[in-house]
Amino acid sequence: MSRSARLMSVFAAAVLAAACATPENAPSTAASSGAVEVESCGKRLTFDGAPERVVALDQSSTETLLALGVGDRVVGTANLKTRVSPQYAEAYGRIPVLSPKVLTAEPLRAANPDLVVASFKELFTADRAGTRDELEQLGVPTFVSAVNCPDGETEPFERMFRDFTDLGRALGVSEQAGKLVADQRAVVDQARAAGEERPAGLKVVWVYSVYNGIPYVAGKSGMASHMSALAGVDNVFDDVDQEWPEVSWDEIAARGPDVVVIGDLSERGNPGDSAAEKLAMMREHPAVSQLPALRDGKVVELPGIEMDPSVRTVNALRTFTTRLDEITSRG
Amino acid sequence: MRIEARHLSWGVPGRTIVRDVDLVVEPGETVGLIGPNGSGKSSLLRCLAGLRAPTGGGVRYDGTDIAGWSARTRARHVAFVEQTADTDSDLTVGEVVVLGRTAHGSPWRAPDATDRAITAAALDRLDLTGLADRPWTRLSGGERQRTHLARALAQRTWGLLLDEPTNHLDVRHQLELLELVASTRQTVVIALHDLALAARYCDRLVLLHGGTVVADGSAERVLTRELLREVFEVDADVDRDDAGRLAVAYRGPAR
C-alpha cells in the first residue's frame, strides 16, 4: 500500500470513529478537528461524521454512490431514467425508490437524510427537492456535482473525479474513491493518447434524442464535446454553447459530419428513443441520408445514459475511441 | 325638474346622429318622443340621461349643466330605461328592482329596510309582486320590461327617460304604464311608436327626423297629415273621435 493510501485509510478510520458519536442532524457551521469540509457548487459542506442516510436525487448520483460502495447507506433514490448498470443491480434493489420521477420536498424530508446528492442544481428548487438554502438551514448538506458548476478551467472528467474524491472524503470511503478515480483516469489518459495520434479534422455529430421529429445534439457544454476533444475529433456543434441544443436535420447535414454518434435511449421507450429509430429517420431524410457517414456506416451507437456525466461515462469514452479507431483504420 | 337640451348635437366619428336639438321639458310634463327608426330618439334620450357626452351644446337639469356630473349624481336625478336591456344573469325580479336603489346611500352598503319597502312599492305599482322571486331567464318580454320600469321607479328620481317601454307589453299593460307615466308628478320623456297612444297620454309630442326636431307641440300641431307623410312616409287621416280623442287612421304607405 502506498504512503498516501495508508494516510487516507487512517484518516478515513478516524472520521468513521467520530461519526458514531455524532447526533443525526447536527448543523455544522465551523469545522471542528476531524471534520471533513467539502466545497460543492458554492456551498461549503461540513461533516462531523460520515453521513449514514444519503438520498440521491437522480440516477447518475445513485450510481456514483453505488460505485463508491456506500449503497447500504443510501436511504432513497429518485428519477431513474434507465436500468441501473448490472454490476450494481443487487445493491440498488435494496434502496427504496422515493419517487420514480423528480423528488419533491416532502418525501425528501420524510426520508430524514443527512446528505443529499444531485447532479444538477436545478433539482434543488422550491417546487422540487427544496432549495439548498432551506436544506442548509435544516442542517442537511446538499452535494451538487462539480460537473454542473464549471469553473472555466477544469475539464469535465476531472470535475467528475473531484466529485468522487469529495464524496469519498465526506462519506469516509476515500480509498474506494481513489481507486475509482485512478481507474477512470486511466481510461481518459488512454483516450487522450489515442486522440493525439489520430489524424486531425475528423468531424463528429452526437445525436442524443429526437423529440417530435426534432433532433437534439451535443453542444459545447457537455461530456460529449469533451469526449470529442479528448479523442481528437471536432464536435460539429461546438459553436452552440448549450449542453443538448435543439437543431434541425438540415443543419446536421449542412455541417457534413464524418462520423455520427447515436444515443440509444430504448429503455426510456418513447417514440424515437431507440438508436434504430434514429438511424431510420436519418436514412429517410433527403440531405442527411446523403452523408458519407451514413452511406459508409461510420456510425457509433452508445447508450444515451452514458453521454450524461456519471460513472458510466468512461464506458462511453472507451467505446467511442475504440470505434473511432476502427473507423479511421478502415479509412 | 326641468330638463333642457340646448343646441344638442351628438354623433360617432363620421356621422352626426343628433343634430342641434333644442328641447325644453317643464317640471311634471310628459313629453312623447316620436319618429321613425333611425331618427335619433334613442340617442337623444341617452344624451338627455347624460349617458353620452354631447359633441355640441349641452343638457341642463333645473338650469344646471350636467356635463361633469358624476354618474351617481345623475342617477339621483333621472332614471333611464333602455329599449332592450338583457342579461344572462339569473337575477330575480325583486333583485333587479332593488338595483334601482344603487345610487342612494353609500356605494358599498347593502339594501336596507327603506330600500326594500321602496322596492316592494315599485313591484306593486307594476303588478309584479307575485313575480318577485322569479328569475330573469323565466320572464316573458313584457315582464322584463315591467321589471325595468319598476327599477326606474324605485330610483325615485324627478326625471324619467324611457326608450320605447311599451314594445313588448300587451295592451292592458301598455295602457297601465302610460297612465302611470301620465299621472306621475315626475318629468317624463318617453319614446313611443304608437302615435295614437302618444297623442292620448302625452302632454306634448316632439317629432324627430334625421336627428333634428321637426315639430314640437300639442298632438294636433305635430300629427298632421303632411308631417306624417313627410316623416313617416305614410298616408293617414288624423281626426278627433266622438270622445274627443285624437285618432290616426292609416291609409297606406305614402306613394
Binding site: A110, K121, D127, T131 | F80, E95, A103, A120
Partner: protein, 363 residues
C-alpha cells in the same frame, strides 16, 4: 295604498314602518347559513388536508406536536426534518391552496361580471401568460435557484402584460368585448414569446423546470408566499367585494349600469387592476392553475344566486376548499409522484360544471 304611492314619489320623504316592509329577498337568512356552513367546511378541510397529504408514516400525533411546539405547549419536540415537513411544507401548502383558490374564484366571478362573459376566468387578461414569460426569462438568466427569483420574475412579467393591456385599451374605452379581445391578444402574444424563448434556449433542464411551473403546482409553497398571498388577498378580495353593488349593476350592460349611478369606467379599471394584481400574485406563487376561477363562480351562483354581496365571499370559501382538496388529491393520488394540481382541478371541475349546466337545463 297611499302609503305605497308615497314611497315612489320623489317629492315625499319615504317613511318606513316595520310593518310595511315586505322584504323580498328573505332568502337572505338562508344565504348566511350557507356561508357559515361553508366556512366550517373550509376550516375542517384545512386541518384534514394537512393530514391527508402527510407522508413519512406520520399522523395526527406528529401534527399535534409540530403545532403544539409553536404554541408553546409542553409537547415532546419532533426531529428537525419531520417538524420541518409539517410546519415548513405541509401547513403553508394547505394555507396557500386556500388563499389561491379564494383569489382565483373571486377574480373569476368579478371578471365574469365586468366582461359580461360566462367563460371569463382570471387568466382572460393575459396575466398568466405574462407571468410565464417572466418566469422563463428568470430561469434562463440563471436565477432559478433562488425561489424569490422565479416568483419575482413571474410577478414582473404579469405586470408587464397588464401594462400592455391597459395601454392597448387606453383610448376607445373599456367595453366588455374589447376587454376580452385585447386580453386574448395579450395572452397569446406572451405565450408566443414564452415559446420562442424556450425554443431558442432549448436547455432541456430549464425546460423541465418550467413545465411543472407552467402547469401550476403548490409544491413551492412556503410561509413567505403564504404571507404575501394573504396580504394581497386581504386587500384585493375586500376591494372587489366592496364593489358588489356595481358588479350587480353591470348585469344589463354599461348604459343601464351608468344610469343606476355606477361609474362604469372607473369601476371597470379598478376591478381590472385589482383582479390582475391578485391573479399575478397567485400565478407568481404557484403557476397557472386552471378551472377554479371559471367553475367555482358558476357553481356558487347555482347555489345562492348572482348577487355579488353573497356570491363573492362564498366563491372565495368554496374556491379555497376546492383547491385545498384537489391539491391534497394531487399529492396522494399517485404518490410518490406529484401530479400537477391543474390536472385534478380539470378532472373534478369539468364533471361538476356539466352537472351544473344540466341542472340549469342547458344540456
Amino acid at each position: 295604498m297611499a302609503d305605497r304611492a308615497g314611497l315612489l314619489d320623489p317629492a315625499v320623504e319615504p317613511e318606513v314602518t316595520p310593518s310595511s316592509v315586505a322584504a323580498p329577498g328573505s332568502g337572505g337568512g338562508r344565504r348566511v347559513a350557507v356561508l357559515l356552513l361553508s366556512l366550517l367546511v373550509l376550516a375542517v378541510s384545512l386541518v384534514a388536508a394537512v393530514r391527508v397529504g402527510l407522508g413519512g408514516g406520520m399522523g395526527w400525533d406528529e401534527i399535534g406536536r409540530a403545532v403544539g411546539a409553536r404554541l408553546g405547549l409542553p409537547v415532546p419536540p419532533l426531529p428537525r426534518l419531520a417538524d420541518s415537513l409539517i410546519w415548513d411544507l405541509r401547513v403553508p401548502r394547505v394555507l396557500l391552496a386556500a388563499l389561491v383558490g379564494a383569489a382565483l374564484a373571486v377574480c373569476g366571478a368579478a371578471l365574469q361580471s365586468v366582461t359580461r362573459n360566462a367563460l371569463a376566468d382570471p387568466y382572460l387578461l393575459g396575466v398568466s401568460s405574462g407571468a410565464s414569460t417572466g418566469a422563463v426569462v428568470v430561469v434562463l438568466l440563471g436565477f432559478a435557484g433562488s425561489h424569490l427569483g422565479m416568483t419575482g420574475g413571474a410577478f414582473l412579467g404579469a405586470l408587464v402584460s397588464f401594462a400592455l393591456l391597459v395601454f392597448l385599451l387606453r383610448r376607445r374605452g373599456l367595453d366588455s368585448v374589447r376587454i376580452v379581445l385585447t386580453g386574448v391578444v395579450v395572452g397569446q402574444l406572451f405565450t408566443a414569446i414564452t415559446s420562442l424563448i424556450l425554443m431558442s434556449s432549448g436547455d432541456a433542464d430549464s425546460t423541465r423546470a418550467l413545465t411543472h411551473w407552467l402547469l401550476g403546482s403548490l409544491a413551492p409553497a412556503r410561509w413567505q408566499s403564504v404571507v404575501l398571498c394573504a396580504l394581497a388577498c386581504a386587500v384585493g378580495l375586500l376591494v372587489v367585494w366592496l364593489h358588489s353593488p356595481a358588479l350587480d349593476g353591470f348585469a344589463f350592460g354599461a348604459d343601464t349600469a351608468t344610469s343606476l349611478g355606477v361609474d362604469v369606467r372607473t369601476v371597470r379599471m379598478v376591478l381590472l387592476v385589482t383582479t390582475s394584481l391578485l391573479t399575478a400574485v397567485a400565478v407568481a406563487a404557484v403557476g397557472a392553475i386552471g378551472f377554479v376561477g371559471l367553475i367555482v363562480p358558476h357553481g356558487v351562483r347555482f347555489l345562492v344566486g348572482p348577487l355579488h354581496r353573497v356570491l363573492l365571499p362564498l366563491s372565495a370559501v368554496v374556491g379555497a376548499t376546492f383547491l385545498v382538496w384537489t391539491d391534497a388529491l394531487a399529492r396522494v393520488a399517485f404518490a410518490p409522484l406529484e401530479v400537477p394540481v391543474g390536472v385534478f382541478t380539470a378532472l373534478l371541475g369539468v364533471p361538476l360544471f356539466l352537472l351544473i349546466l344540466r341542472k340549469r337545463g342547458e344540456l
